[in-house]
Structures are given as structure tokens and as C-alpha cells.
Symmetry: C2
């Protein structure tokens, strides 16, 4: 009854969403490449603005920022060579991917590159460092006794964010390392000639190699990149790699005749090549070196967010946000337009319902330059931080709506768990042969949260998409939902054509979701989240779920520390304060939950619900990462994509194993436990009666 | 009509405040020394708690923290010696002040000392450095060609915070300087033998010499100092001086036979001695040196805040805070008990009125350990930051209520200007012969704000009292009011007996306010502020006043920069973005003000009013000062007591004059202008319609 907002209106809203419309939106916005900062991406922005206005939003505006982007030099292509002892280039990696059928005449396809790479033409021997994680570099240096200084490093994609691979390489090899970056993208080679799958496409993965840690535009950290905004010099910019980096596809990678030791099996990928570590090539090619030729330019470029609003009827100063990016590396068939098409359909459907109004204001956002470091969404968050901090109820992210054909995937803050379960019970499964089955059942059957509970799995929010500034910097309750692959059988990271030219309309239309029912189901999930958050009298946020999660996270981080039980005794490290804070939070949450039953001051209670997530923000940020401020959820420094719980403690524990001064390192663990305990206590206080 | 909350109730509340009651409260709480961390200060806390409960507050609690305090060693006293060439001490400064009449048997009077001084027994020649400001050290080194390295520096009190004098000395003299610290406290020597004023009391000024910049407890910056809280080691503590420091009275200072150059007149104080710069003594005493003997100990000590609450009837989750400290260096006759007595009377009067309730919650606070760096108030602010950020409407500070016998002094945020004028028109002047004259008229007559406007002067909030964490860190609208001296004729800093043993009940009762009418007037001002803020339907905060002030501040900081007009052209520095932000803010404020006339969503408008001050907070803090976060008001690094407007720009401009790299320094000016312009724009946005 509390979660009302009228079931009739919800049903109308969800029924209005149509598969054929989503298909049409996707078709329309994937005909041409629309990289951030290009004319075509501005054209799409203008079209979206116009259509959102036609759909009936109260206001739609274009919001520009001038941010640092990075493009290949049009006259000097990037590539990697093998050079002989005379310095002749005897082999060059490909300059572009073969274009998929039907797109042959298209211009402005940016070739695969590592955005924000430093320029340079370094030469050296190759060394293979597996995924390029901290532990991989340690293993290389300590067990395999290979020094990477002065070498060119080759790493495979996966496990951690590509920008972090570059960061680790820099730290490992000290100042003289030169790195480059190979995609061993397993199955990267689905070529989208209709219905055809093969593994030698020549595809490669574009992507930025920044280490931003949530800073947004590298030249204006903490402030929106407006015309009058002070900009740092490039050398002072946040997270810009100081070394050349370049991605290659496996068709080029197999041409590198790596020599040296055979690596352990855990370092071998699924490619049918003989994996070797180097340094350098096999004996036959010992005199050959590798040369990188990187001419990529950084330049301050105008980008455009599109921001649409439906004004709330009773609480116009409470905001529910649905945002996803529009910019794509090429066509963006999956990333991001499968998501943008879903947002577009949500706006269309919402517009048809404006005879009544939501209680709270809904904000729709089409972000720009996500691929260059979440820039559009972060600049807007910086621009509006003061409003968002006081007024934002929730942020729902809308990046790619599909990355597989198996089932639903949801990552969200614990207080949204219950709402996600409730709404998926009201939405139909999009799978063939599951007529009359709810999305919840379909999902539950395929991905049960076995270890924790008998319900569909919901994961923690990590990083790598536009929710970051809203959730991890500002502490706004956030979530995301999409269709995904079967993790047990499909073990590659993301999806095979990720960030390649093969992400076209056709790959969705012919392969991932021919009926567009899966995308419709995702639209309904995202739409229903927005609807309930904007329309329910009482905010549908569940504090008890947060309490349960916090206790679990405390147990699990303490268990991680137990690996070092002796040292914990020596240095007197205890998690008791954190456990006790978790218990205290649970008591406060129960009390709050009980008072909800007899609620009479709706706005007071709703404010307590809204500000709960905010209470987990530490204004001082995580160590060395001032823009990652969420004490419970943030990417670990060592595992950028996955959201860790208690990331401060996690990182401190991670550093223990390689510490030269264990007392100091354990001291940092203790400090982080103390900060976490305080934060959980403080969050508990926000749930007690306000006076 | 908007500022209602019932005039009848206001009149009752103010009429209930009685001079004889204030006198009695002051008498009661000044009989014994009650330094922070001592048993007596805990006893007073318990008594205040008990009496507040009896007065009728809904709840009163003691809130303890364990913070770093600093006390002289009881068995090894601190003093300064003159030693002859054999190392014999031929003169020692006094170990204590002569005790005032009536207090002869009192124990636990802490002798004058510089709290948190490093220990040490350094020897060296004395050098006099005027007030010990940056510019004084520059003048000494550059014009007078005196190198302070290895010297003992003697500075006079005044102009800047004593902790900053120590900081400047450290920076100027590099690592080998040793400093000590003399009070040339003009008129420090009012001995409180009844009715008697003279200038050789033997008094000296206690005080801490920290450079905290708002951090609170030096060992737990950013977090409340609870039992489980991680503490830094002393060497990592924030703001702890690394050199010995000690205060002496002028009766000791005149025994130092300073030699060397005669300083310029601006370096001469009002003492009847021949001012010399040194280094060292006059020729007759050339072989003598000065030796400091400092044995002060830092120790983590429990302190206690007393927190009382009246629950708001309609908006219990909106807080109006009246807070002042209780701890005193000795008896605290003026500082702080004249203020604490006023709070006590406010609580008593408020308690009598609880047949009706204020609309919002009122919180009364008796802070501990203000004298040791605003510790009690800052730790509580850290403990409750998440609640305060969302819920605090205003903070009214209640330190010493009287520092002179002339007229009212008010420092507050611009949005409180109008309220201060309104209420002082309703309060009677306490001055003899001014029956029927309002406090406003009496005040206006004595201190007109000539340069700016025809109204009584209101100043910017600076630093040095407990409002700091609430205003400068958290961005809560704040103000303070007290009775003050005539600045034109009484040119000493603070007041003559400041921080000496002579701050007794008698000095107030016999000298400053025999009728206790002045303290009653201050109680009424503070009380009326609290009343209106807690009871008015519409919050009595004036956004137009903020707009006017911002435009003035922008003009005035730009004018300061005009001293360097040529360089501004060379480095292309412009204040246009700041002016334009000020205009934009004015437009938003006018629009908001107009909408107020037809207000229908009270809580929405009130939230906009409440959060306006919050919008001036930059979460990144001022450069190098993470806990000073208010972009409009904060102490300059160079002038700690005075609140500067646009402190970031001010400090950057200040550094221009001594910069080795002007381009870089002007870059910092530009960066600060950009931050200020952004912040004012963002604050303007908070005043526009919310959707």
C-alpha cells in the first residue's frame, strides 16, 4: 500500500513500452559512427532533444562541457611494428578493422586505439605479463626473475580495467618502462556478416587508458569543465598515462614470435598459440625488436549532455534520475545504444502518461563522452553537486541493455534489493517458451544467489559506467539492470564484439534479441524502478536490506584478514568495532522500520531514507582517491571493475602482502577499520528519531 | 507576518531572562578553575546537565571524547632564563601570576603556558620580530638583514593568532629556529583588586599554539575522537608545533636587555621600554644568552560536551543550535563563562515556555576544550556531520558575552543581517541613560557601518571560536553576538585580562557589567536569534543580503588584485567570471525573493534557504586546508582571526608578492577565481525553482 503511486498508472506505463519502438530507436541511432566530440554525436543529441520534447517532457536542454578528449592523428596512423636489426619494419599491425557488411561506405570510423595514450615511438623487447595485474608483475619479477625496465609489455585483456594495467606497468617498471597493450580478446572475432561467427575478424578493443578514479575531465578535477573553468596543464592532468599504449587484435598478436620461458597455465589464454613470456622473440628472430608508433592527440573538445525533466507534482525538489550515455566508439549497436534506445522508449512511454504527474521530479539524461572516462555524467554531477546532494532520491544507470542472451543482471545498492525483486515479479519473462512466467522466476531459475539466499543474484555496483559520480562520489542510491550472458559457460569478459566496429544494429537484431523482447524487459525494469521511486508516497528503499548487507560485508572483510591471523595478533588488529557498528546499524534500521508502520511525518521519514546512502560518504575520500568517497562501495585500487565492500579496508589488506613495513601497513588497516566503523555508526544515527 | 512564531511567545521568552539570574549563574560557575580535562570541569558539566534537566529540556546528555590536551609538568615548571657565560641562570621569568584577592587559597591554577609547545631547553640570542607575521619575518630578513636561524624569537601578541606566529617562525627560520613567545600584552595588567587598575600585574596570556586549521583533535582529524577511533602518532598529529614556545608578561619582558638595531616605529609597542631587535642583549650583557625551559606534556584526555534538546513540534528534523564552551584557562570570568551564563539563562527561560513548543528542534551545547583548539565542538560536529549537513538550520555561537563596555558587536553570515537588525530593534539598550532607546539605535549611534551602509556595523565571521566547524567546515548559517569595547579608542587586542588568572567573576561584576544589563541584552540577542530561527514558519534568512555581500566581496578582492595591474595583464587574469557569477546570483536571489511572496510549498522554500549556506562549501577544501571548506568565508592563512571573503583568492594574491615563480602564482589566482565563480554560480542554482 505504501508502494502505491497507483498500480494502474504503472501498468499503463510498462504496457506502453513496445519492442518495435525500441528496435526503431536502435536502428535510428546506430546508422553512423558517433564518437564523443564529433559532429554526428551532436546531431544525435539534437535529435534526441527534439524527440524528447515531442514525447512531452516539461523541459529538455543541451548542456555542453569542454573536456579533454583524445583522437588518433588522421595523417599519422598508430601501429606496432616488428623491426629487424637494420631498423626496417618487417611487420606492421593492421591500421583498421575490416568493416562489416553493409557499412562499407561509412566514413569516420575511428581505428582501434588506446585513448589518452602518450605519444612515442619506443623500441624494445616484448615481455608478456598475463593480465597486467599487480600480482602478475610481482610474479614476473619475483618468481620468473624478469626485469621489465626498458621493455615493451604485452598484456591480455580481462580481469581489471585496461587503464589500471597501464598504471601497474608504470609502477612496476619504474620510469623507463614502455608498455603496449594487446587484446587477446577471446572470440573478439565475431564478424557481423549476418549469422556468421568466426574468430579471425581482425577486431580489436578500443578504450581509454586513464586512471581517473572518478575525477571526470582530467584537466578540471572537482569542477565542471565550463568555459570559465581553470584547466590544469596536460602534465598536471589527472590519470593521463605517461607511456604509449596500443590495442591489437589476436590476428596481429599471433604474429609475434614470443620467445623465452613458458608461462604457468594460469597465464595461458584460449588462443591456439604457444604462450611465452619473453623477453624478446624466439631464437630465429632474436635480433628483431618491437617498435610502437603512437601519434594520438589530446584535445579539449566540446561535448553535449541532453537533460530532460518531468516536474514532480508534490515534491518537485526530489529527483529520480535515469541516465545513460550516447557516445559510442563506432556505431554503438550494443554499447551504448541498446541502453539509449531503452531510455528513449521509457521517455516516450512516460510522455504519454503526463495527464497525471509523478509525485517527484524525473530527470532523463543522455550523457556524452562516457567512453573517455565517464566525462559527461561526471561533469554534470560536478555542476549540480549541491542540488543533487540535497535533492536526489536515486540514480538508475542505463548503459548497454544487453551483453548476453541468458538472463537479467542487476547491480545495485542494498536498499534497492527489495524493489528490484518486487518489480521483476510484475514483469513478464522475455524468453521463448516462458509465457506466463515472471521475469523474477526466469531470472531466479538461471542465476540463484546460492551462497547468500534463495533469490536471484544481485551484485554490488562496481565501476566503469556513468553511475560512478552519483553513487561513489555523491552517495545517491543507485542501480543498473541489463540482460547478460551465462557466466558459467561464457567466460570471456564483457562480450566478444565489445568496443569493436562490429557492434552494429544487426548484431542485436539478428543475434542478441531478434524479437526485442529482452530489451523491452530491460526497459520495463529500468522504467518500473524510476516509476516507483518517483511515484511512491513512501520511498521504496529498504533499510533492513542495507543492515543485512553491512553485516555480511563486515564478516567477509574480517575473514579476508584472517589469512594473516598471527600478524593480526602481533599488531593487535580487531574488527570488533566494525561488527559492533553493524549491530548498532541493525538496531537502528529495525527501529526505523517499525516506525515506518505508523509513519505520520512522510517527508521526515522519506528524507531519512533518501539521506541514508549519503551517510556512507566520507568527505575526505578513500586514501589517495578524493573522488571515490563511498566507504562501503568503491572499486578497489587493485580490481577496478568490481565493486568491493569496505574498499578502504580491502586495499589496506591487499597492501599487507607486499609491504616493507608491516607495522605501518597494519596501522593503515586499523585506521581504515576505524573509519568504516565510524561511518556505519554515523549512518545508523541518521535512522534514529530525528529529535 | 512570515517571521511570526508568535510575538507573544517571543516577548515572554525575552522578558523571562533576568540580570540577577545571569549574575548568579556566572557566580556559580567561576568559583574554581575548570580547565578542560580536569575534574572540576567535569563537575560543572554534571551540574549544567542537572540544571538543564530541571529547567525542562526534553533531553540532556553528556557526550565524551578522548582528545589530545597539553599540560605543564607539575614537578618541572616552565620558565625562561637569562644565563651568563658560565651557564648560570641569572634571571628567571615568573612561574605564576600573583593570585587576585579572594582567590588566595585556590589550588589547580595552571600557570601561564603555551599549550602543545614542544619540550626543550634551547639556548640562544633573542631576536624581536614584531607581531611575528609573514611580513614581519620578511622585513627582518630582507631589510634588516637579520637571520633568525638558531635564534630564539620574541614576538608581541596581537594581529594574528598566536599559533600562526609559531608557524611563521618555523617556516622562516627553517629547521633550526627556536622560538619563544612573549606577551607584550598592553594593559595586561589590570589586577582585579576591586576597582583598581594598574599595569604591572604580572599577568600573562595562556593559549594554545596549534595550527589546526579546523581539524579538531590533532590525532583524529576528520573523525570524532571516540574510544575505537584510530589515533595518529604524536609526530603525525595535525598542527603540533615542533619547537618550544612560552608566554611571558611584560613585567618579565622588560627585564630583557635587548640590544641591536632600533626597529621602525611600526614595530614599537606601547610599553615604556627601548625597543631593540637584537640579536642578543646590549653590550653590557653581550655574553648572556636566553634559555627556555619547557616541559609541557601532551596527553590524550577525556572531555565532555553537554548537549540539551527541545524537540521541535512540526519539524523535529530541523536543528537550530546555540553552543558555547565551558572550559576555561582558570576561572573563566569572561572567557567563556560570561557566555555560558547567558546560555544557561536562555535555557532556563526556554524551559519555562514549553507549554508551547518551537516548530523546529533547538539544541543547546556546552562545549569542552575550546581553549585547546575548539576540540569539543569540532569532535561533535565530526560525530554528527551527516545529520547536521542535512538538518541544521543555523548555529549561534556563545563564547564570552562581553569584552568591553561600549556597544554590541555582531559577526554573522550575510543571510542573518536582516534578522539581527530586526531583533535588536525589539530589544532595549542596556546603557545607563538610554531608557526607551532600542539596542539597535544605541548600537547604530556608536558603530555605524559608514563605508557600506547607514546601519550598525556587522562583521564577517572569522575564526577562533566554536562556530568554526559548523560554519567553515559544514556550511551552516552562523552568527555570534557580544558586548564589545570602542575599537577607536581601545586599541589592544581582545581585552586586557584575556586568558590570565584575573578573569574572575569580580571583573565582570565590578567593572564590565555591574548591573548585568549588558549580559542580559546579549542573552536577548542570542535568544531572539534562536527563537526566530526555530519558530518562524518561513526561515528568517535573507538571500538578498547574501547577494549584496557577494557583489561587494567580489569588488573588493578584485580591487586588492589591482595593486598588480601590469602583471594581471601579462598573465591574463580576469575577475569577470566572478563578477558575472555575482550578477547571476543576484538574479536568482531576486527571483527567489519574489517567489517567497506567493510561497505555497513552505518546506521546499525553507530547504532552499537552509541549504544556501551549504552551497558555498567546496568538498575539496581550501588549498592545503581540507577542513576549511567555505569558499566565501574563512580565515586567511595570513590573518587567522579575521574572516576574509574569498579566502582562496586572498591567499593566492598574498603569495604573489613573495613568489619566485610569478606565472605559477598567478595561475593559482586564476584557479581560485574559477573556483569562486563556480561556487557562486552553483549557489545561485540552489535558489532557482527546483524543477
Amino acid at each position: 500500500a505504501n508502494n502505491s503511486g497507483s498500480n494502474k498508472h504503472l501498468t499503463e506505463f510498462l504496457d506502453e513500452m513496445r519492442s518495435d519502438q525500441i528496435r526503431e530507436h536502435l536502428r535510428k541511432f546506430t546508422r553512423l559512427p558517433h564518437l564523443a566530440g564529433t559532429e554526428q554525436n551532436l546531431k544525435y543529441a539534437e535529435q534526441i532533444k527534439k524527440e524528447w520534447q515531442e514525447f512531452g517532457l516539461d523541459s529538455v536542454e543541451m548542456v555542453p562541457y569542454d573536456v579533454l578528449l583524445s583522437y588518433p592523428n588522421k595523417t599519422q596512423p598508430n601501429y606496432i611494428s616488428i623491426v629487424d636489426h637494420l631498423g626496417n619494419e618487417v611487420f606492421n599491425t593492421s591500421l583498421a578493422e575490416p568493416v562489416p557488411e553493409g557499412y562499407e561506405g561509412v566514413s569516420n570510423i575511428v581505428p582501434p586505439y588506446s585513448a589518452f595514450s602518450a605519444k612515442g615511438q619506443p623500441e624494445g623487447d616484448l615481455v608478456y605479463v598475463n593480465y597486467g595485474r599487480t600480482e602478475d608483475f610481482f610474479q614476473l619479477e619475483r618468481e620468473m626473475k624478469i626485469n621489465v625496465t626498458g621493455k615493451i609489455v604485452i598484456v591480455r585483456y580481462g580481469k581489471i580495467f585496461r587503464g589500471n594495467k597501464v598504471g601497474k606497468a608504470l609502477r612496476s617498471g619504474h620510469i623507463h618502462v614502455v608498455v603496449f597493450h594487446v587484446i587477446y580478446q577471446r572470440l573478439s572475432a565475431i564478424i557481423c556478416r549476418p549469422h556468421e561467427l568466426n574468430t579471425d575478424s581482425g577486431g580489436a578493443q578500443r578504450g581509454n587508458v586513464l586512471n581517473l578514479n572518478g575525477a571526470g575531465d582530467p584537466l578540471t578535477p572537482g569542477y565542471p569543465a565550463k568555459e570559465y573553468t581553470y584547466r590544469f596543464d596536460l602534465v598536471e592532468g589527472v590519470g593521463l598515462p605517461k607511456i604509449p599504449v596500443h590495442p591489437i587484435g589476436f590476428h596481429d598478436a599471433i604474429r609475434l614470435n614470443m620467445g623465452g620461458q613458458i608461462p604457468p597455465n594460469s597465464w595461458k589464454g584460449a588462443l591456439n598459440v604457444s604462450y611465452r613470456i619473453g623477453p624478446g622473440f624466439t631464437d630465429d628472430f632474436k635480433s628483431q625488436k618491437v617498435r610502437m608508433n603512437i601519434h594520438t592527440n589530446n584535445q579539449v573538445t566540446r561535448i553535449y549532455n541532453v537533460i530532460g525533466r518531468i516536474r514532480g507534482s508534490l515534491e518537485p525538489d526530489r529527483y529520480v534520475i535515469l541516465g545513460g550515455h550516447r557516445d559510442a566508439w563506432v556505431f554503438g549497436g550494443i554499447d551504448p545504444m541498446s541502453g539509449a534506445a531503452v531510455v528513449h522508449e521509457t521517455v516516450r512511454s512516460a510522455g504519454r502518461l503526463l495527464s497525471w504527474r509523478p509525485r517527484r521530479t524525473i530527470i532523463f539524461a543522455s550523457w556524452d563522452a562516457e567512453e573517455f572516462g565517464l566525462l559527461g555524467s561526471t561533469e554534470w554531477a560536478e555542476d549540480n553537486a549541491k542540488l543533487l546532494q540535497e535533492r536526489a532520491v536515486a540514480y538508475i544507470n542505463a548503459d548497454s541493455a544487453i551483453e548476453g542472451m541468458y538472463t537479467l543482471r542487476v547491480d545495485c545498492t542494498p536498499s534497492l534489493h527489495t524493489l528490484v525483486y518486487d518489480i521483476t515479479k510484475q514483469i513478464a519473462s522475455p524468453e521463448e517458451g516462458e509465457e506466463g512466467v515472471s521475469l523474477y522466476e526466469s531470472w531466479h531459475k538461471r542465476d540463484n544467489w546460492t551462497n547468500d539466499r534463495n533469490a536471484p543474484r544481485i551484485s554490488k555496483l562496481g565501476s566503469g559506467s556513468d553511475f560512478e559520480a552519483y553513487f561513489i562520489r555523491l552517495g545517491i542510491a543507485s542501480g543498473r539492470a541489463r540482460y547478460t550472458k551465462n557466466k558459467k559457460t561464457e567466460k570471456y569478459s564483457s562480450y566478444p564484439v565489445y568496443h569493436s566496429v562490429y557492434e552494429t544494429f544487426e548484431i542485436v537484431d539478428k543475434f542478441y534479441d531478434a524479437s526485442f523482447k529482452r530489451l523491452r524487459a530491460v526497459a520495463q525494469v529500468r522504467g518500473a524502478l524510476i516509476f516507483h521511486l518517483a511515484c511512491s508516497e513512501l520511498l521504496p528503499l529498504d533499510v533492513m536490506e542495507y543492515a543485512d548487507s553491512l553485516r555480511k560485508y563486515a564478516q567477509s572483510i574480517a575473514q579476508l584478514a584472517q589469512r594473516h591471523q598471527d600478524e593480526m595478533e602481533t599488531y593487535m588488529v580487531s574488527f570488533d568495532s566494525l561488527f559492533s557498528a553493524g549491530e548498532n546499524f541493525t538496531v537502528a534500521a529495525k527501529g526505523f522500520h517499525e516506525r515506518l508502520q505508523t509513519v505520520n511525518r512522510l517527508r521526515v521519514m522519506n528524507d531519512q531514507l533518501m539521506y541514508l546512502e549519503r551517510a556512507f560518504i566520507d568527505p575526505l575520500g578513500l586514501p589517495g582517491r578524493p573522488f571515490y568517497r563511498h566507504v562501503i562501495f568503491a572499486p578497489s585500487s587493485h580490481n577496478k571493475y568490481a565493486g568491493e565492500s569496505f574498499p578502504g579496508i580491502y586495499d589496506a589488506l591487499f597492501d599487507i602482502e607486499n609491504s616493507a613495513d608491516p607495522e605501518k601497513s597494519w596501522d593503515e588497516v586499523k585506521r581504515q577499520i576505524s573509519i568504516a566503523a565510524f561511518t556505519v555508526h554515523a549512518a545508523a544515527m541518521t535512522l534514529t528519531p530525528p529529535a
